[in-house]
Amino acid sequence: MLEIKNLHVSIEEKKIIKGLDLSINKGEVHALMGPNGSGKSTLSYVLSGKDKYEINDGTIDYNGKNLLELDVDERANEGLFLAFQYPMEIPGVQTSFFLKTAINSKRKYLGQSEMDALEFAKLMKSKAEELNISTEMLKRDLNVNYSGGEKKKQEILQMSMLSPKMAILDETDSGLDIDALRIVSEGVNKLRNNDNSFLVITHYQRLLNYIKPDFVHIIADGKIVKSGDYSLALELEEKGYEEISQTA
């Protein structure tokens, strides 16, 4: 699915990622954990194609394609989804309209006809119900005056409607209370299957109680310093980043 080799990234001459390797296969859930400033969010932006980041070295292969050559929207339409840490507000654009536009952009890219209004309404209703999102919220402007938790639920709703192949969750747990965390995690778990993959970026082991990863990676100073299974997250919780990074 995703194969990152020897990735070096800088922003405004400052090196952020310094030789990162990561391989994610179909059906796997990987967790990426690390302290502030370790390069976690940078990696999510580089994968989704945000500009201003300079790729100094390395390759990223995504399903046989050179990911770095694709535009932001091409990556999205090829099934790469980023659940934002800070989702953007778009005033004047109704949430349901945005969802419909996104779905139809993908269908157009794939050479399919637009989804008809009834089919769309049904899909949105069922997915929103799963996430405990009210229909009233879908009529409001996208993310405008949403609480932190509502914004994160909205990200997961978009994800479930677009059913990506490779989803990156950038600190989706931050700002969520325990109930919202459970609902969001259930939403993610429902989407898991043998054909898609997840990269879950988080500070805390807490989220991983709900979304059980197959692999856990610890990133420090722009490199993956340790990889393991779920037990590594528990070990990290106990010992802290500093000790783990040193023993690596």
Binding site: D73, R75, P87, M88, A102, Y109
Partner: protein, 485 residues
């Protein structure tokens, strides 16, 4: 070369440009020589078979025009206009003797309107919308005439109204925009060619949208639209105008005067989607759009609402205004003005509060991209007798790129201590993070800009009649194509 062939060829050679109304139609024209003088005014009046009083009115306006300087207040770079190097009248030969039915109209002209999405033939007429189609200097056809006249509604070209309803035209023409208002108003009064005339009788609510579609076709020809709408007591009308022109390298002049009169408890809703050819990316060609639009709320509880979507023209100079004479009368102005590439717009409104408890609302959204300049200019004037007058103004500007400009020039003059005036203004740049977010959801960069800008304009677009709101949204997106890299 056959006209269709010619048209297809011209459309094909448009090349990089995105203006989809840029084709021209080949028709034989009746056109006197260039230049502005008493002879041409007499010629126009004679062509239209006008009564003597109308000709005198025109000639008087021409005298006034000669004395008035060009208005200078706008933040626009307007090249010197040589009024002698312009044609003032052009009509397709086939329309000289007003065709009695659509079958007598040159099929090329009918095709032009079909291409523009305005079919005039009965079986294809737009449902719920009555259309008056103006081609260069003359009205081609008006649809739904019979159905409207059964209700006592008069909807015809102004040229026809001069002959059929002289008492109404005499009473109201020039009563809202005096001939001497400024030089463009005087020029229009002297040489106006065609436009729409609407009279809604007392107590009638017009059941359909009334609409005029203006098309400039002939080269080097000015279009001088004159529209007059009168809503008698307790009546209602919603009116929409659309405008397009072929792509030409020369600039063309469109100087319109539009007057609205609302009597007691009457309401007029006037919407404009202006998409004249804006010129090319280097600023060559395009329409000079100098428009005077003014409505008088003469009766008590009357209301006039202007909604405009201004996306075309090389230069837009336009201030649809309301004179709030009647007590409790209301004026509204909702505007989206988009300038891209080298376009310039100086647009806004004047709300003149005269009666008691009058209120006005101004929502202006200006969007600049490329190297364009966009100015909001507005006046809220509350006179001493306007007790408890209210105004709310909101001006938002959005910048795309770093070579464009947005300017806001609000004037507020209040001579009354009971009045309340609010003004809010914002200027922002289109947010890169918003664009990235939309693109990450699969929208290409142009769709993303279109979506965000449409969101920005929503408060205004939602005031357009339903049938046109969707078109306007598409137009907003198209006007900004190529504005982000």
């Amino acid at each position: 070369m056959a006209a269709t062939e010619q048209t297809i060829k011209q459309v094909n050679t448009l090349g990089s440009s995105d203006y989809k109304y840029g084709f021209s139609t080949e028709v034989d024209e009746i056109r006197p020589s260039k230049g502005l003088n008493e002879e041409i005014i007499k010629f126009i009046s004679a062509q239209k078979d006008e009564p003597e009083w109308m000709l005198e009115w025109r000639l008087n306006a021409f005298k006034v025009f000669n004395k008035l300087p060009k208005p200078q207040w706008a933040k626009l770079n307007i090249p010197e206009i040589d009024y002698q190097d312009c044609y003032y009248y052009s009509i397709p030969k086939s329309l000289k003797d007003k065709p009695k039915s659509l079958d007598e109209i040159d099929p090329e002209i009918l095709k032009t309107y079909e291409k523009l999405g305005i079919p005039l033939k009965e079986q294809k007429m737009l449902s719920g919308i009555a259309v008056d189609a103006v081609f260069d200097s003359v009205s081609v056809a008006t649809t739904y005439k019979k159905q409207l006249s059964d209700l006592g509604i008069v909807f015809c070209s102004i040229s026809e109204a001069v002959k059929t309803h002289p008492e109404l035209v005499k009473k109201y023409l020039g009563s809202v925009i005096p001939v001497s208002d400024h030089s463009f108003a005087a020029l229009n009064s002297a040489v106006f060619t065609d436009g729409s005339f609407i009279y809604i009788p007392e107590g009638v609510r017009c059941p359909v949208e009334l609409s005029t579609y203006f098309r400039i076709n002939a080269m080097n020809t000015g279009q001088f639209e004159r529209t007059l709408i009168i809503a008698d007591k307790d009546s209602y009308v919603s009116y929409l105008e659309g405008c397009t022109a072929p792509m030409r390298d020369e600039n063309q002049l469109h100087a319109a005067n539009v007057e609205l009169v609302a009597l007691d408890n009457a309401e007029i809703k006037y919407s404009t989607v202006q998409n004249w050819y804006p010129g090319d990316k280097e600023g060559k060609g395009g329409i000079y759009n100098f428009v005077t639009k003014r409505g008088a709320c003469r009766g008590k509880n009357s209301k006039i609402s202007w909604t405009q979507v201004e996306t075309g023209s090389a230069i837009t100079w336009k201030y649809p205004s309301c004179i709030l004479q009647g007590d409790n009368s209301k004026g509204e102005f909702y505007s989206v003005a988009i300038t891209n590439n080298m376009q310039q717009a100086d647009t806004g409104t004047k709300m003149i509060h005269i009666g008691k408890n009058t209120s006005s609302k101004i929502i202006s959204k200006g969007i600049s991209a490329g190297k364009a300049n966009n100015t909001y200019r507005g006046l809220v004037n509350i006179l001493s007798k306007a007790k408890n007058a209210r105004n709310f103004t909101q001006c938002d500007s959005l910048l795309i790129g770093n070579q464009c400009g947005a300017h806001t020039v609000p004037y507020i003059e209040s001579s009354n201590s009971d009045s309340m005036v609010e003004h809010e203004a914002t200027t922002s740049k289109i947010n890169e993070d918003q664009l990235f977010y939309c693109q990450q959801r699969g929208l290409n960069s142009e769709d993303a800009v279109g979506l965000i800008v449409n969101g920005f304009c929503k408060e205004v677009l939602q005031h357009l009649p339903m049938e046109f709101a969707v078109e306007a949204q598409k137009l907003v997106a198209i006007s900004l194509e190529g504005s982000v890299g």
